[in-house]
Each structure stands twice: as C-alpha cells, then as structure tokens.
C-alpha cells in the first residue's frame, strides 16, 4: 500500500464523524423527548414582546468589512510565515541564522507597514475616526 502513512489523518476523520453522529443523535433524541406545539405567537422572532417590524436585516457599517479585510491579509501572511518559522531553528543551527532572519524580518516589516497604514488612516478605530475627520472637514 503506497498510502500507509496517510492513515495518521484517520483520527481526524473519526472525530469529525463522531461530531456528525453526536449532532444527529442529539437532535433525534430531542425530537422524541420534546413536545412540538408551535403557534403563531411562539414562533414570532423575539423583539422584547413587540410585533417585529420589517425584516431582520439592517444596514451594517462598512467597518465590519474593513476588520474582515485586515484579518484575511494577516491570515494569509501568517500561513506563509509558518513554514519559514518551522525551519528557522534548523537554519540557525546550520549557521544561516542571519540570512533567514533578514528574509523573515523583511516579510514581517511589509506586514507591519500595512497595519501601520491602516492605523494611521483610522481603519482600526471602531467608532471615532470617521466623525473626527468629517468634523475637521466641516470646519
């Protein structure tokens, strides 16, 4: 068998399977044990006892997107940094420490300059910055 060693991943599949089974089992058990008597008032989305007005969706602020954007850039960069971090120790023991340090630091430095830009422009602020700039513009 050429794929003998691939089986180290088998426990992951088994744990995933157990999660699926647990979920289905819990839902089935609850289905048999619990009552089911829906009515209109019970099924109404909770809005502190009032009748719900309109759809649930409301306009969200674009800052949610900006947070997601910065996150995804960091995420991808960390993915690329992990393999280099793994061989860092080996390279140091081979005497190539400064070479790999320079590569690593230049990569991190570009990452930092990105976050520094966003910080300066106020993308990292959750509330204040936009109103601040607009007040300054109005003056």
């Amino acid at each position: 068998m050429s794929n003998q060693a691939l089986e180290v991943f088998m426990p992951i599949s088994i744990m995933m399977g157990i999660a699926v089974l647990l979920f289905i089992g819990a839902l089935l058990a609850a289905k048999f044990l619990s009552p089911f008597k829906p009515n209109k008032n019970k099924n109404m989305p909770y809005e502190c006892g009032e009748e719900p007005v309109g759809t649930a969706w409301s306009m969200f602020n674009v800052r949610f997107y900006v947070v997601g954007l910065i996150f995804i850039i960091f995420d991808v960069e960390s993915v690329l940094m992990f393999p280099v971090a793994v061989i860092f120790k080996k390279m140091v023991s081979l005497g190539l420490g400064s070479y790999v340090l320079i590569i690593f630091l230049s990569f991190v430095f570009i990452l930092i300059s990105g976050i520094a830009y966003c910080w300066k422009k106020g993308d990292l602020d959750w509330v204040k910055s936009y109103t601040k700039t607009s007040i300054r513009d109005a003056e």
Partner: protein, 375 residues
C-alpha cells in the same frame, strides 16, 4: 503511523506479541485493525470526556460564581448539586425546539452543527498524555488553528438564520470578534513555533521537559508576554465575559442564540464550554509544559500515562478556573474598546514578540534565559 495512539501502544512488547500471535492464529495481519480499534476507542473516550467536561463546566461556573458572589449555588441534585449538569441536559432535551417564523431552516440547523464540528475536530490533535493523543500530526498546531475557525462561521450563521434583529447583530459582532482575535493567537503561537522549530504538539511538549524553568513561558521575556497575549486573545475567541459582546444580555438579549431553544441551544453552550477547554489545553501544551512529569520521569512507560493525564488535566483545569474567575470579576468591555484592545494592543505586542523571538534565536542560538544565566 508511529505517531498515533495505536503506535504508542504498539511500542510495548506484550501488545506487539499478542497481536502477532493473534494474526498468525487468524491468518491475516491484525495491526491495521488494532490501529482502527485504538482510534475508535480513543475517540469515544475523548468524546465522553468532553461531554463530561462541558457539563461539569456549567456546574463549575455556577458553583464558582456563587462562591464569588457569596451565594450557595446549585445544591439540590446529588451531593453538593454535582448532578446538576445531568438535570440540565435532560431539561434541554425535553424542551420544545422552536423555529422562529421566517427563519432560514437549513442554516438554522447548520449553525450549531458547525460550532460542534469545529470544536470536536480539534481534539484529534490535543495531547492529553503521551499515549492519549489520537494523532501527533506534523502540522498539528496549524491544523488546530485552522479548524477552530469554523466556529466563527457557525456563530455568524446562527445569527443570520434566526431572522431576529438581536441575533443578527450578535452574530455579526461575534464573527468580527472571533476573526479579529485570531490574529494575536496565531502570531503568539508562531513565536513558539519559531523557538521550537516544529508544528507537532508532542515535540513542543518534549522540549519543555517538566521543570518550570524549561517551560516556554519562562524561555525568554518575549514568550512570557506571549503567553498572556495568547490567553487573553483565546479568552476573547471563546466569546466569554469580559469579551462577551456577541451575547451581551443587557444590550442584545442573548446575542446569536436568542432564538435557539432546547437541544440546539444546548449544543451551542456545549461548544462554548468545550472551547474554553481547548484554549486552556493549548496554552498549557505550548507554554506550561503540557503533560510532562518533572525531568521526563517515567517517560515512555505505560504506568506514567495516568500521571501525565492528571498533570495535564490539573494545569488545564487551573486555567479553566482562571477563565471563570475572570468572567465573574471583570465588567464587560465596550464594543470599540474590544476592537482597540485587539488591533492596537494585542496584535502589535504579538508582532513585537515574534520579532523578539526571532532575534533571540539568532543572537543566543535558541538558549533559554535560564541556560544563559547558569552557563
């Protein structure tokens, strides 16, 4: 295959001989069957452990909070109320499962599933003891970070599918918070990877051979800060107080699981309590020496397994206690402060730690602070 739970037990001669004689008696190789059996037994054992941990987590939470607030807490079911979690579980099973009108049925079912799935999948790599680690992947740490991010999707969908304004706000906040705090967690873990040169949990643990001065938390000043960054950010990833903005009772009713009742709410709660365990376990494994007995005492023997398991659980439950303690002591943060802490404090500190660790590796050849002091 040597790196799995089955491989660990096959190192002992009497098990090996038993399998060899069994194989010759039956006529085909039983080794593979033994591996699969060990995987199944281990997985079921860990699942049972997790259900207990999740249940006892709720009990401990109520008991400790009662202690902090000078109350008695649950004391009716069983001695000291310790069977309270069973009663809670049965109650959740027998409650009606309400689906709000206008809800997205498919996603409403899928959301708790994604949370449970993401949390349970991490346990394939968490090392409880030398033997009781289902598989020691070469990319175990990376896998754990990746698969845990499914929880964010689950929380977002839970908020979206409910067709309720509170839920949607809570879900959006929850997803934003989880993805933000994943950055400091990832970068803190990366500084440990830098020092240890591996992504496998077992090797990281074996480098911290038991005595506290060998632990990575005391390796150098940067890792000492890194541990707290990891712990605080991990706490925020579990959506618990003081970072429980997504489910803030006083502003969002109950956040993304406002509309969830019965067993599906129970699954969300179970996922949350198990996730605390995951965060504590990862912090213990990476920074606090993991399951190691002092000085590799009895390393690699069968008799050491219960001891190692006890040590790991002891350290993990200590951190679990700290998490609950923090929840009932600190007030909730404001939404903008939450993001400020993440992006303006924790992330820059984590990057600083990473650079510091890189320089430490090159300048001191990866020796720990203690080694430099002694020699």
């Amino acid at each position: 295959m040597e790196n799995t739970i089955g491989g660990f037990f096959l190192k002992f001669d009497f098990i090996k001989n038993a399998i060899a004689s069994g194989s010759s008696a039956i006529g085909f190789d039983l080794t593979m069957l033994f591996y699969i059996m060990m995987f199944l037994v281990g997985a079921v054992a860990i699942t049972a452990l997790l259900a207990t941990v999740g249940g006892l987590g709720t009990y401990a939470e109520r008991k400790i909070s009662a202690d902090i607030q000078a109350r008695i807490g649950p004391n009716r079911v069983g001695p000291f109320g310790i069977l309270q979690f069973l009663a809670d579980g049965i109650k959740m099973m027998t409650k009606e499962d309400i689906m709000p009108s206008g809800a997205d049925k498919f996603l409403f079912y899928l959301a708790p599933f994604l949370c449970i799935f993401g949390v349970f999948s991490t346990f394939a790599v968490i090392p409880f003891s030398e033997g009781l680690q289902l598989t020691n992947l070469d990319i175990g740490i990376f896998y754990l970070i990746a698969i845990a991010s499914l929880v964010g999707v689950g929380i977002f969908l839970g908020g979206y599918a409910s067709n309720s304004k509170w839920s949607l706000l809570g879900g959006m906040r929850g997803a934003a918070q989880i993805i933000s705090y994943e950055i400091p967690v990832t970068i803190s873990i990366m500084s440990i990877v830098l020092l240890s040169g591996t992504l496998s949990f077992t090797e990281v643990i074996n480098m911290q051979s038991g005595f506290p001065h060998n632990w990575f938390i005391f390796h150098n000043p940067f890792t000492f800060i890194g541990f707290f960054v990891l712990f605080i950010a991990g706490l925020a990833e579990t959506n618990r107080a003081p970072f429980d903005l997504p489910e803030a009772e006083s502003e969002l009713v109950s956040g993304y699981h406002t509309e969830y009742t019965g067993i599906r709410f129970g699954l969300f709660a179970l996922a949350e309590y198990i996730e605390i365990f995951v965060v504590s376990g990862v912090s213990v494994s990476l920074f606090l020496g993991g399951y190691n007995l002092p000085g590799h005492f009895l390393h690699g023997t069968l008799g050491a397994q219960p001891l190692q398991f006890a040590i790991f659980m002891g350290k993990t439950f200590f951190l679990y206690y700290v998490v609950i303690w923090i929840r009932w002591t600190f007030p909730r943060l404001r939404a903008d402060h939450l993001m400020t802490i993440c992006w303006k404090y924790l992330t820059p500190i984590a990057i600083f730690n990473l650079i510091g660790c890189a320089f430490w590796m090159v300048l001191f050849n990866g020796k720990s602070f203690y080694d430099l002091l002694m020699h």
